[in-house]
Amino acid sequence: MITLEGVTKIFNQGRHNEVAAVRGVDLTIEDGRVTVLRGPSGSGKTTLLTIVGCLARPTTGRVRIDGEMVSGLPERFLTEVRRRTFGFVFQKFNLIRGLSALDNVVLPALPLGRTHRPLIERAQALLDHFGLADRAGLVVEHLSGGEAQRVAIARAMINDPAVIIADEPTASLDGERVAQFLAIAEDLKRSGKTVLITSHDPRITEAGLVDRLVTMADGRIVEAAP
C-alpha cells in the first residue's frame, strides 16, 4: 500500500516563476487495484504520479510504501525502491532510440547482474506475450505507436514490479489500441499487480476495470471514488 500525507510539490521555489503543481495531497493507493488519476491538463496528476513512483521528491509531505517512509531516502536507496517496486509506462513511452525492442525491454534489468540467457528469454517471452515476437530485433523508431507502447509495458514488467504506473497511456492511441491497452491492464490486475494510471480519457476513466477514480484540479484532490 502506498500512502501520501500532505504532499506538495513546488517547482522553481523562491523564484519569480514558482509553480505549486501539487498542494497538500493525502492519498492511499491500495495493493492489487487499478487506480486512475484524472483531471484536466495542468491539474498536477503527472507530478503526483512521479512522486508516487519516486521519480521526484515532494517539497513537503511524506510518501510511505508498505509503511516505510521513502520520501526522505537518499538517492541510492530511492533508486533501489523504485527498481524493486515500480514499472513505468511513460506517456511518450521513453524508449531509447537506436536500440532494438528487445534491448529496450532488458534495460531495467541490466544493473541487477542477472545471467544473460535467462534475461533474454524473459524479455523475449514478454514480447511474445504482447504479440511482438517478430518485432524484437527492430529498432524502436520503426515500431508503430501501439507496438512502442507494448514494448514500454514489457520493459516495465521485466523486473516483475508490484506496481505498474502508466502516464496518459492512451493519449496517442486509436480505439483498437486503447482496447488492447485495457486488456493488458485487466491482465495486470488479474495477476495481482497494483496499477496506477493518469488519464483524462473517458475510455479509461469509464472502463469497468477501474477500482478507484481520483479527480484532481489545480494540484488538489477534489474527488476520490470510492
Partner: protein
C-alpha cells in the same frame, strides 16, 4: 561476485550498442582523438628516443674532454698538453683523440672521421682499412670488403677497404662514423704529428670528475674541460626545448580537441540528458549510468589511444618522425639519416595517457555525474 561481473558485462554491452547508434559521430571523434594522440605521442616518443641516444653517446664518451681554446674557439691540442695532464692525481687514463667532420657531396652526408682509441681493441683498424657506421654504409652502399673513397676539402683522396659495418643498436652514436687508422687520418686532413683534436680523460673515481677537471684546468688554463654531465645537460636542454616548442606548436590542435571533447562530454544534448533520465527512471543507479558512460568513453579513448600510439611508434621508428623531424632536430640535423632504436617506455605511455585519456574521461565524468545524480523527473522534463 558473479552478479557484479554480469552487471559489468551488461553495462559494457550497453555501451557498445549505444556507441553503435551513432557510428559516424563516434568514428569521427575517435579519428580526431587518435590524430591528437599520434601528434603528441610522436613528439614524446621522438624526444625520448633522442634522449636515450644521447645518454648512450655520453655513456660511451669520455668522462672529461679537454679541448684547447683560442679566442673562444676550439683549437688543436699538442703533445705538450697531453704530457701536462699525465700524472694528475685521480686520473686513470689520458687518451689524445683524433676526430673531425667531412662533408661528403657524393653521399650528400656529413661524416665523422675518427681514429679509434688505442684502448678500443674491438674497433682497431690497420692502414688502408675503415670501419663505417650503418648510415655511411647505407649512403655509400658499402659492405665489408668494398672500397670507400673519400675526398677532403683540400682535394686529398683517402682510399680504404671496409673492414666492418657498425651495428645499428644505437644509430645516433655510430651512424655517421668512419673509423680510420691514425696515419691515414693525418694524411687525409694534412695534420702534422703531435697535434690532436682533443684529449679524453678517464678518472679513477667517477665522483671525482669535477675535482679532476678543476685540477686539470689549473694545469692547462687555455683549455676547456667538458664533463659528461655538462654534455648531458646541454643535450637535455636542446632536445627538451625543441620537444616543448613542438608541443607548443601543436597546442592549438590539442586545445581544439580539448574543446571538442569538453563540448561533446559536458554539453550533454537534450537527447542524452533525456536518456540518462530514462535510465534513472527505470531503475539504474547513478553509478550504473556513470559506469556505462565511462565504458563508452573508455572504448573511444582506448581505441583512439591504441591507434594513435601505434601510428606514432611506426612514424617515429620506421619513418624517422618525418612530419616533425625538421622541427625537433633543427640546426642539429644529422647526416646521414639515422634510424632510432625502437623502444617503448611504460612511463612515456603513462604520461601520454595522462595527457590525452584522463582529460577526456574527466570531461565525460563530471557532466554525466551531475545529470545522473539529479531526480529522474527533473532530468526528463
Amino acid at each position: 561476485m558473479r552478479a557484479a561481473l554480469e552487471r559489468r558485462r551488461h553495462l559494457l554491452d550497453f555501451a557498445v550498442r549505444s556507441l553503435a547508434r551513432r557510428p559516424a559521430k563516434n568514428l569521427g571523434l575517435t579519428a580526431i582523438y587518435a590524430l591528437i594522440v599520434f601528434v603528441v605521442g610522436s613528439v614524446m616518443l621522438y624526444g625520448a628516443a633522442i634522449r636515450r641516444e644521447a645518454t648512450a653517446i655520453l655513456a660511451s664518451g669520455p668522462e672529461i674532454a679537454a679541448q684547447a681554446m683560442t679566442m673562444g674557439r676550439h683549437e688543436m691540442s699538442r703533445d705538450a698538453d697531453v704530457a701536462a695532464l699525465k700524472g694528475l692525481r685521480g686520473v686513470r687514463r689520458i687518451e689524445p683523440r683524433l676526430w673531425g667532420y667531412l662533408w661528403d657531396s657524393a653521399g650528400a652526408a656529413n661524416y665523422t672521421l675518427m681514429v679509434p682509441p688505442a684502448s678500443d681493441g674491438a674497433h682497431a683498424v690497420a692502414k688502408g682499412e675503415a670501419i663505417v657506421g650503418e648510415g655511411v654504409a647505407r649512403a655509400r652502399k658499402l659492405a665489408p670488403g668494398k672500397m670507400l673513397f673519400l675526398v677532403s676539402p683540400a682535394g686529398k683522396f683517402l682510399k680504404t677497404r671496409v673492414k666492418a659495418v657498425l651495428s645499428s643498436e644505437s644509430a645516433l652514436v655510430s651512424s655517421d662514423l668512419v673509423l680510420v687508422e691514425e696515419s691515414d687520418f693525418r694524411a687525409f686532413f694534412d695534420l702534422p704529428p703531435g697535434v690532436w683534436t682533443d684529449v679524453a680523460i678517464t678518472v679513477t673515481n667517477p665522483r671525482e670528475v669535477g675535482t679532476v677537471a678543476e685540477k686539470a684546468a689549473l694545469k692547462l688554463p687555455g683549455h676547456r674541460f667538458v664533463t659528461r654531465s655538462d654534455m648531458a645537460r646541454t643535450a637535455e636542454a636542446l632536445f627538451s626545448w625543441r620537444e616543448g616548442l613542438t608541443l607548443a606548436l601543436v597546442a592549438g590542435a590539442i586545445l581544439a580537441f580539448a574543446l571538442l571533447a569538453f563540448d561533446k562530454a559536458s554539453g550533454l544534448s537534450a537527447e542524452e540528458k533525456r536518456e540518462i533520465g530514462i535510465l534513472k527512471a527505470i531503475g539504474w543507479e547513478t553509478r550504473d549510468v556513470i559506469a556505462a558512460k565511462l565504458f563508452e568513453g573508455g572504448l573511444i579513448s582506448g581505441l583512439a589511444f591504441l591507434v594513435g600510439v601505434v601510428a606514432a611508434w611506426i612514424h617515429v621508428f620506421f619513418f624517422s618522425a618525418g612530419l616533425f623531424e625538421p622541427v625537433l632536430k633543427g640546426w642539429a640535423t644529422l647526416y646521414p639519416r639515422f634510424p632510432l632504436a625502437p623502444t617503448l617506455d611504460a612511463l612515456e605511455l603513462a604520461t601520454l595517457g595522462m595527457l590525452t585519456v584522463l582529460p577526456y574521461m574527466a570531461a565525460i565524468l563530471v557532466p554525466v555525474w551531475r545529470t545522473a545524480s539529479a531526480d529522474p523527473d527533473a532530468v526528463m522534463r
